[in-house]
Amino acid sequence: MPDSMAVGEAKAKNRRGVRAWLNPYHYNIERWAYFFQRVTGVAILAYVLGHLGDTSFFVGGPTGTGPNPSAWSFIGSIFENSFGHLILILVVLVLFFHGVNGVRLILAEFGVILHKPSAIEYPYRPRGLGHGQRALIYVGIAIAVVAAVWAFLVLFEGMG
């Protein structure tokens, strides 16, 4: 019985689920990238579902039958304001990070940007995580910030 309890406790410890994402203890930049890839992915999906709903008002919404300027004007009056534009800028920010970091993950998955395996030596740094793939995380952050600035200029300054 005590053995089975110990096994149960060990399983529970290993099954922390989403809570484990929120414990930043000993996180390196790759672990943070893992965390943000999932958070931004869920956030983008939530936005896409909302966007699916608001674009449906182009044809009158859920009960519409065809192109409807008054329904489109109605939905625009709700979302086309400073708060709505701020949300769009945040969406652009996380979208570009998710995209660039996602490309990094695909390249790593296929071994393109990983170092060759070597003997494990003190201080046990993860050598497989080469500089190229780590640099891509920072590139992703930089591109996301530039894209967010571009979105700000388009939405608030009328650029484009």
């Binding site: 992915g41 896409v48 182009f58 009158g60 065809g66 192109p67 979105a151 484009g160």
Partner: protein
């Protein structure tokens, strides 16, 4: 379907989504000013162009498959029991079918729904 194949689908949809979303954003803020891009007349002309209507449908399918498959992967990471996996997989398929169906309805009505009301 094998998990390895589903992961390849995730990567393939990711690459295609990067390309399609880039074009979508360029159309919204570079080719046209934003206020012009979201005007009713401009969107109607986009839907009436067969190429762009197909483009938007492809964007819809690729992004939703990638998004819901991504959530499925997260949920499989959180818990690994047979029943949980079955429900998550079934729920993912239902979510994709429903949302793609709703989005496709918008595209079809915009293209074939006749003149503006």
């Amino acid at each position: 379907m094998k998990e390895s194949r589903l992961m390849l689908i995730q990567y393939a949809t990711a690459v295609v989504a990067v390309a399609l979303v880039s074009v979508h954003l360029i159309m919204q803020g570079v080719i046209y000013p934003y206020t012009t891009a979201i005007s009713f007349s401009n969107i109607l002309s986009i839907y009436n162009n067969g190429f762009y209507a197909v483009f938007l449908e492809a964007l819809l399918v690729v992004v939703l498959v990638h998004g819901f498959n991504g959530v499925r992967i997260i949920l499989h990471e959180i818990r690994q029991t047979r029943a949980w996996g079955t429900w998550v997989d079934a729920g993912t398929v239902v979510a994709i079918v429903v949302t793609v169906g709703y989005g496709t309805r918008t595209v079809i009505l915009a293209v074939f729904g006749g003149s503006p009301a």
